[in-house]
Symmetry: C2
Subunit: 244 residues, 2 copies
DNA sequence: GCCTGTGAACGTATTCACAGCC
DNA sequence: GGCTGTGAATACGTTCACAGGC
């Protein structure tokens, strides 16, 4: 280990090696760590030990330390972690230390809800512009954001310097939309539309199927309930009347 | 250590423990399988091989077969899987073969968007009733669903035979709400509120932090961008100017 | 032939446990 | 004493590869 303490490097934004040095699960947890750290910071807590922080977020202390270790040395031994510094560092790692402009596609019910969702601003994301194909909506302003026609996305995205996009539109023609958006400099897309699309290389795409989470919960509840009464399905047995 | 399962030839290791016989990741994929299978069914496809289905959903054939094998035998060899039967069977496994009543807590922007979200009905979930604390909203009907005051949740939940709940309210007093909801027969809760709560035993709780996904994407995009230019730092370096 | 279901091998994520430090 | 960071060990999830069946 390098014994360097306090290397006053400008330390712009530190990541790991090229791409896959750290797992997505770790990144997901980092997000939670930061959220809790900000609460602690608001409450005036200055330092915290891995054991306590782990308890707050619901992971083991070892996992917390391992997650952080992926990115370097965070803690002052026996004083624990500095809450504020660590929160800032995680933001820097995630790239959310500066507000990023996001574009929204689809100003339906879900889209409008996202426009007025405060959580985005609090976490460093600003929906700067919206798009739709509906003539009724194009030109109007929703929650302070102007709605443009999808036809003009190339110029508008560049104008607002948008690097991220949220999809909440109709499923029709979604793949074509993704291709155009990725071709306009957008590097990451969050897709709320329950339709499978794929992004060209260099552009990240994440699916968020709301109903899917409910299905998971239904399974869990159902499994519990049936396990109490019946033996349910046996592995190896035909899973259904298979009408051959 | 401890409870090591004898996964030997006798594969009757199902109904021993209630929940964790099959991983959550498998269940998440089952949900995707079913979605694709329903599309195939609508298109008139009757049978499909694991290789083709795996290609459609973006997993390896081996993983698909392994996922299904957790629940029994699905396929007629050399004819592949029966699309309709398999879709139905997955629904049965998930407990979504019959429409389930869901309660919504919080009729704000997000809550109203969820009320009009068609994806729920399509997947077997019906938001039957809504709750809020705002006197302006209580008593009104939103998208066909009446809004009750949270004070009366115990009686209303039982009346509608609700087993699942969605939280989209303000974070204040969320934990108390969760406790009351769980005490009223609800077995599963989907929480959209960015606040950590825990459910008492027997009640499942799933968090859905919308902004968290954006953070992940930000990390990925940012990582790519910096990896292209700088070699970034080695693991073991201080992660930040740590103001000792 | 190609298919599914599945033991076995593999890779990855988590946990353990301890060295080094305060 | 208690703390962090980390090699080693364990648990887990995925892939391989093949037996058995159509």
């Amino acid at each position: 280990m390098s014994t360097s303490e306090q290397t006053g490097t400008d330390a712009t934004t530190q990541q790991k090696r090229p791409a896959k040095r750290v797992s997505l699960q770790t990144v997901e947890r980092l997000s939670v760590y930061r959220k809790v750290l900000e609460e602690l910071d608001r409450d005036g807590v200055e330092n915290i030990h891995s054991h306590d922080l782990a308890g707050l977020v619901g992971v083991t202390p070892a996992q917390l330390r391992r997650d952080l270790a992926s990115f370097g040395t965070f803690g002052n031994i026996s004083r624990g972690y500095n809450v504020y510094q660590m929160s800032r560092t995680i933001s820097r790692i995630m790239g959310t230390d500066e507000t990023q402009s996001v574009a929204l596609f689809g100003v339906g019910d879900l889209g409008r809800a996202l426009l007025s969702y405060r959580g985005f601003e609090e976490r460093g994301f600003h929906i700067a512009v919206a798009f739709d194909v509906d003539g009724e909506k194009v030109g109007r302003v929703f929650a302070g954001r102007r709605c443009y026609h999808v036809d003009h996305l190339e110029t508008v995205l560049r104008e607002f310097d948008v690097r991220m996009a949220i999809l909440a539109s109709r499923p029709e023609g979604l793949q074509a939309l993704v291709d155009r958006v990725c071709g306009s400099g957008v590097q990451a897309i969050l897709n709320f539309v329950p339709k499978r699309v794929s992004a060209p290389g260099g552009c990240h795409l994440e699916e968020t199927d709301i109903a899917s989470k409910l299905e998971m919960l239904s399974f869990l509840a159902h499994t519990d309930a049936t396990a109490a009464h019946t033996a349910s399905l046996e592995p190896g047995e035909p899973a259904e009347g298979m009408t051959a």
